[in-house]
Amino acid sequence: MTVEELSEMQAQETERQQKLQNRLLCCTAAGCVSCGADRLRHALADAVAAQGRSAEVEVCGTGCMGLCSRGPLVLSAADRRLYGNLTPEDAPALASPNALDRQHLAACVIDLDGPFFARQHKIVLANSGRVDPEKLPDYIAAGGYQALAKALTEMTPRGVVEQIRESGLRGRGGAGYPTGLKWELVAKQPPAKKFVVCNADEGDPGAFMDRSVLEGDPHRVLEGMAIAGYAVGAQQGYIYVRGEYGLAIQRLQNAIKQAEREHLLGNRILETGFQFRIDLRMGAGAFVCGEETALIASIEGKRGQPRQRPPYPPESGLWNAPTLINNVETFANIAPIVVNGGAWFASIGTASSKGTKVFALAGKIANTGLVEVPMGVTLRTILFDIGGGIPGGTFKAAQTGGPSGGCIPEQFLDLPVDYESLIKIGSFMGSGGLIVMDDSSCMVDVARFFMEFCMDESCGKCIPCRTGTVQMHDILLRITKGEAGPEDLAMLQSYSTLLRETSLCGLGQGAPNPVMSTLKYFPQEYEAHIREHRCPAGRCQLTGRLEEATA
């Protein structure tokens, strides 16, 4: 395919879609599928066929529409109406050309101008819920691969890096390293074998943004990687994806095949001299592989254990070659930046954190699902306006950053969410999991839960992490059982400092964060367990004897 043919395909597909009377877009992301979206989609296709309108009405699957709590969702494109909580029995009415047939579905209509949708700003998720992730022409009709075409034909590799730098984009995997700087580091290595790696080993419990992007818009990630390959001078890319994400793997494989067939990947991309291949590597369930050097070891077929840095991967990574590693969401931002320019992206967000961030809302919140907001909005906006608040409970804390993050108490609800402000209050942006807890959650138990996670996932290479997490978990467990004394709190503090300062990688360094943030903001809960021998949330079974504990 040449650049002209790409534009031609875009025009043709757009025209075809406009000629249709209606398009019924069914969300087929993991959330909706488990509520029966597949059956609904088949029922819709059958209903359309039964009405003899297969030529005028198209039924297709899309990626995540965001409002997982109301699934399965269907968007009727012609009248721009979103329906939720549907069953296959609703299919004939939905497919019917007569609006009167849909009157009884009024309760299922979801207000697209309501705060859940209106307060969001979609860049990464712009296509999610609008294009069929299994059809390449659909992506192309939505402007797909135009960024790659622009980069290859109108820009120099240096120019691309410059745009990314100007955009102010920072790594969306959590740490927030400036993406442009990273690209520049790889680009300026002497020309030789280089690699581009997409980190799709989304391991934080409570995070499903990367999964949704891969399932909903796989070509966007491929396009971002190909642009990165052009910019830094790499010809081979790898996507390291969690083995548990079956649907994402399947859609990626399919997308890679389609792109190769149309010369959007592989040799002579868009009939230019640029070549770039992408292969999948499946993770096998090790949280530590989200750490870049452990991820590299895993791609090389070894145990996923991190190594000392420097050298950093941009100098010496995969098979000791310069390697660019970015997260899924980071790559998904690349195409819009190349098309619209770095300055456009830099105009969104706050002074130090540009663009948008996708959050996965879960826990005790009305609208669980996937949201994308500009950096700098307040937590209150995300949780109460977009998230719809806490059903039947009072807000206690929001957890961000997974096992390396912290719990944010109510007093910080009006804090603008960006990289710096979260670190300032002892939390961490992380990959974007946002779990809401109400007064039925015990903060000591939550800290214990995360410590157990880190203990299980510690790779065992460095001693502070390997044994420190076990010791800390033991203390937390004793607190929740009512067997701990006041001296244990001091011990927790000292272990926290030890782990943070001496562990080899981010897993061990970040492991104390949930403990430290709950100790800081909810000390009364620890005190209640230890001194009063009770769990304020009523969650822990304190079976230890009071005299023993305080003796």
Partner: protein, 163 residues
């Protein structure tokens, strides 16, 4: 040192499929994890003879192959039951009461991480299956069950014939 091959060589076409996976990676040790994925898919679990065969073919020390296979949670070194329940213990599921579901399964089938003595049911826990919007979630034989109520597993257990 010569490596002993399994006494009873694996005969069906699974052997051929595994061979194909290895040749796709040019019998290079770099492809070990991919090969282990294929092997587990074909045989259900990774037995010691199977690991030895793979070590031999990829010209890797058996210790490295066992080291990798035992490092990753996804690989199972023991056979699985006829049916599998995976209870998600991610944060969202945890705060939604997933531990109670584990207790139910442990009470009625087998301890988490093990298989019932009759080989019927394996109970496992997962670190987050990325279905946080559906908490608490359980995967039963590959199907995701959403928002499972405390007694929500009774029906499934009945379906597969657990007393």
């Amino acid at each position: 040192m010569p490596i002993a091959l399994p006494a009873a060589p694996l005969k069906d076409n699974r052997e051929k499929l595994l061979e194909r996976a290895m040749s796709r990676h040019q019998y290079s040790g770099d492809g070990l994890i991919e090969v282990l994925h294929t092997a587990q898919e074909l045989y259900g679990f990774l037995s010691v003879p199977l690991l030895k065969t793979i070590a031999h073919k990829l010209r890797l020390p058996p210790s490295r192959v066992l080291g990798v296979a035992s490092f990753y949670h996804f690989f199972s070194l023991k056979p699985k039951g006829e049916h599998t329940f995976v209870v998600c213990l991610g944060t969202a599921c945890y705060v939604a009461g997933a531990l109670g579901l584990v207790e139910t399964l442990e009470h009625r089938c087998a301890k988490a991480g093990t298989t019932s003595p009759d080989g019927k049911v394996s109970v496992e826990t997962a670190r987050c299956i990325g279905s946080c919007g559906l908490a608490p979630a359980v995967i039963c034989d590959g199907r995701v069950l959403a928002r499972v109520a405390p007694h929500g597993l009774d029906e499934e257990l009945e379906r597969i014939g657990v007393e």
